[in-house]
Symmetry: C2
Subunit: 161 residues, 2 copies
């Protein structure tokens, strides 16, 4: 099993505070991630489409890049490396957003807003290999496997058109 | 001609401060917007592709949505309405980012980071009509024309793969 990488203290605190706010409510159970995704648009997370991932840089300006992803019913999983700017961004601001459009009808889209909750070292590149397979580009571990991390985003809200 | 809408004081100040920082340099002329876009990827702003636009919400979390756009050599122009969240976002944080992927080869993409510099009332929906034509969906002004604005983003930096 892969171990869990400690996040920056600020990120852990922010996530913890949010969780406390939820659990101090009036007993309502917040919807699970799978319920957050509208059923009518669930194909957009099931199909191997590219998501455009927005993160916030330490200076407060946004960044957005296309990314592979998969949804396991709880988390959206990505692969990246510890050397990428986005991996620094979400350790300071764990809130991220993804935009996924239907290539057959681009006005049909899903925006998912959520938080990075887990950054898991992936030195064998297993998440990369898994995603490459999903995206129809089967291949072995990447040359930068030693720096790879698997990143888990918990969906919280969606917007659509 | 369309008039210019005043932005929030904070946004104007932020844009002005950045301009001062540039002009207080050693006399270098910053590259123009057309030079910011790599020639090898210029087709990604010329073709009627959907961009995924990232903005930062007042609470510091990111938002990202697909959008029509056109590039006039200086600005990337969008159409939206004064009622959309993104139109509130960039009046507080004028920095935005767009991700445009080649649908024929999604690993070929361009991220453009820039700033919203102009928000122009467009009560006839002219920018919407122009973009609808560009995107192969010719039509008249939209029902919400009265609230429409044309928004100009100046590209400053790009990243790519």
């Amino acid at each position: 099993m892969m171990g869990e990488m400690a996040m920056e203290p600020g990120a852990v605190l922010a996530a913890g505070m949010e969780a406390m706010a939820v659990s101090s409510g009036v007993g309502e159970v917040p919807p699970g991630p799978a319920q957050v995704i509208p059923r009518s648009l669930a194909d957009l997370v099931e199909r191997p489409l590219h998501a455009h991932l927005a993160t916030v840089r330490p200076d407060g300006t946004p960044q957005v890049n296309p990314t592979w992803f998969r949804f396991d019913g709880e988390y959206l999983w990505l692969t990246t490396t510890t050397r990428r700017q986005k991996n620094r961004n979400w350790q300071i601001q764990p809130a991220v957003a993804l935009s996924i459009a239907d290539p057959d009808r681009p006005s049909r889209y899903l925006e998912i807003r959520g938080r990075v909750e887990r950054i898991v070292p992936d030195p064998t590149g297993a998440e990369f290999v898994r995603l490459a397979e999903r995206y129809g580009m089967p291949q072995g571990p990447p040359p930068d496997a030693a720096d790879r991390v698997a990143v888990a985003i918990r969906p919280r809200r969606t917007t659509t058109q």
